[in-house]
């Protein structure tokens, strides 16, 4: 480690320790801080024709996620960073013309991450933040808040009026009624109505993280709680379970969590989907003490081995793509001659993400 690197990393650790922007969520201790060096490689040379590529990048989350370095090397004719979309989702864009002999890109990122643990103590939330949170009550193309979603939300919440208790009922209901379906591609389609239709038909709902997170968000919004999916990626091992972690190759380690908002506590993380993953991977019952303890922990917590990307849903990319509105943005998105390139097949696509834990 060079002197300059040491200083930069130490400064990042200090920033993560002291930044009080989420005052309700402080957690300290050396194990709660982590540094990761990420290298994302693309070689699209074998795709004949005009190629456009949009990559979701991590943004700073005050107190929990600091981006210390973003760099890239590419032979693209055009490449730049942008946040010019409805959610200000940080995006890297590259474009290669049809005749380009080589189409490569290597992105490198250094991020410092901290555990995020809600301490449930009320704090003063500024009126602007409360007002901004209301945007996350609205339905979108893939997040209905009427019909079956409204009906089930009302059944779960019942007469409860307290936002935190309503959110907890919805979280527990999803954990109780869903299971992880490994046959689902990627993170799932994130369709609450599809999940509820399966529940009605089969008595339970199968899916992956985006499916369960989208359902959680839709049910919370229908009950009046601002909420949003947070697309992200696991970048290292978990201290809690192998089910929540990733090795050095993180190409397929995308994972979606949920945030919801109360005017007393601000944005609070939760993750019903990872409890269903824990149950499947460890072969334990949902009613087991371990599953129950982690379900309790994951209401108000995210671990520092997961890096948030964005909370964009049903939005237009910048610059505009040919295929139209994107439903979520956790995977790289590319078009070859205006046709969608399948991101769930990284070997054919030819991209790879790697992560290495750094020293703080």
């Amino acid at each position: 480690m060079t002197r300059r690197t040491f200083i930069t990393h130490t400064a990042a650790a200090t920033t993560l320790c002291l930044t009080p922007s989420f005052a309700a969520e402080q957690k300290k201790g050396p194990e709660t801080l982590a540094l990761y060096e990420l290298r994302w490689s693309f070689d699209l040379s074998h795709h004949g024709g005009d190629v456009s590529l949009w990559i979701p990048l991590p943004s700073r989350i005050s107190g929990f996620q600091e981006i210390l370095k973003t760099g890239w090397r590419t032979d693209a004719a055009e490449s730049y960073e942008s946040e010019a979309n409805r959610y200000s989702a940080r995006t890297f864009y590259a474009h290669w013309g049809k005749s380009a002999p080589s189409k490569t890109l290597e992105l490198s990122l250094t991020v410092a991450l901290r555990d995020r643990q809600c301490n449930w103590r009320p704090q003063r939330i500024c009126p602007e933040t409360i007002e901004e949170s209301k945007a996350f009550l609205a339905p979108s193309a893939h997040l209905p808040t009427d019909g079956a979603v409204a009906r089930i939300s009302a059944l779960i919440v019942g007469a409860e009026k307290e936002p935190l208790k309503k959110a907890r009922r919805i979280y527990d209901w999803i954990v109780d009624n869903s299971y992880r379906d490994e046959s689902v591609m990627g993170c799932g389609t994130g369709s609450p109505n599809a999940m509820l239709a399966e529940l009605e038909k089969n008595g339970h709902m199968g899916g992956k993280c985006l499916d369960m997170s989208a359902l959680c968000v839709a049910l919370m919004r229908a009950s009046g709680i601002p909420s949003r999916e947070v697309m992200g990626i696991r970048v290292g091992e978990s201290r809690l379970s192998a089910a929540f972690g990733a090795g050095e190759t993180i190409t397929k380690a995308q994972h979606c969590k949920v945030e919801f908002f109360t005017p007393q506590l601000g944005w609070i993380p939760c993750d019903p989907a990872d409890i269903t993953k824990l149950v499947l991977k460890e072969g334990i019952e949902k009613s087991s003490p371990r599953a129950r303890a982690l379900a309790e922990k994951f209401f108000g917590f995210w671990e520092n081995n997961w890096m948030a990307l964005n909370h964009a849903r049903d939005f237009d990319l910048f610059p505009a793509n040919a295929q139209g509105m994107l439903d979520s943005f956790g995977y790289p998105y590319a078009e070859v001659e205006e046709e969608y390139l399948d991101p769930f097949d990284p070997a054919s696509y030819r991209y790879a993400f790697r992560s290495a834990k750094g020293i703080l």
């Binding site: 193309a141 893939h142 591609m185 990627g186 389609t189 369709s191 040919a322 295929q323 139209g324 509105m325 994107l326 439903d327 998105y333 001659e337 205006e338 046709e339 969608y340 399948d342």
Partner: protein
């Protein structure tokens, strides 16, 4: 897009193929285009297919022997529908 269509039309004319422009129903996200494309390419005689989510459409180049019914059946099996023939 115009150049691509012209190229496909030219190829179709030269190789004795027919070009279909189809309206596709039931796609709810861009990833659905992959399933529709795979279904269309699975029909014997279909040579190429381009599917667009925004326009809810597919451009198919196929042998003269390929029927609309065969493509409708294939697409329906994946949960989508061919709702109209825009041109052929």
């Amino acid at each position: 897009m115009g150049r691509i269509m012209a190229l496909l039309l030219l190829c179709a004319a030269l190789l004795g193929a027919r070009e279909w422009s189809l309206r596709i129903g039931g796609m709810h996200c861009i990833a659905c285009t992959l399933a529709v494309k795979k279904a269309l390419l699975g029909v014997p005689g279909v040579r190429a297919a381009r599917v667009n989510f925004k326009n809810e459409s597919a451009l198919v180049t196929a042998d003269e022997s390929v029927t609309l019914g065969a493509m409708q059946n294939a697409v329906a099996q994946t949960g989508y529908t061919i709702t109209a023939v825009i041109s052929k």
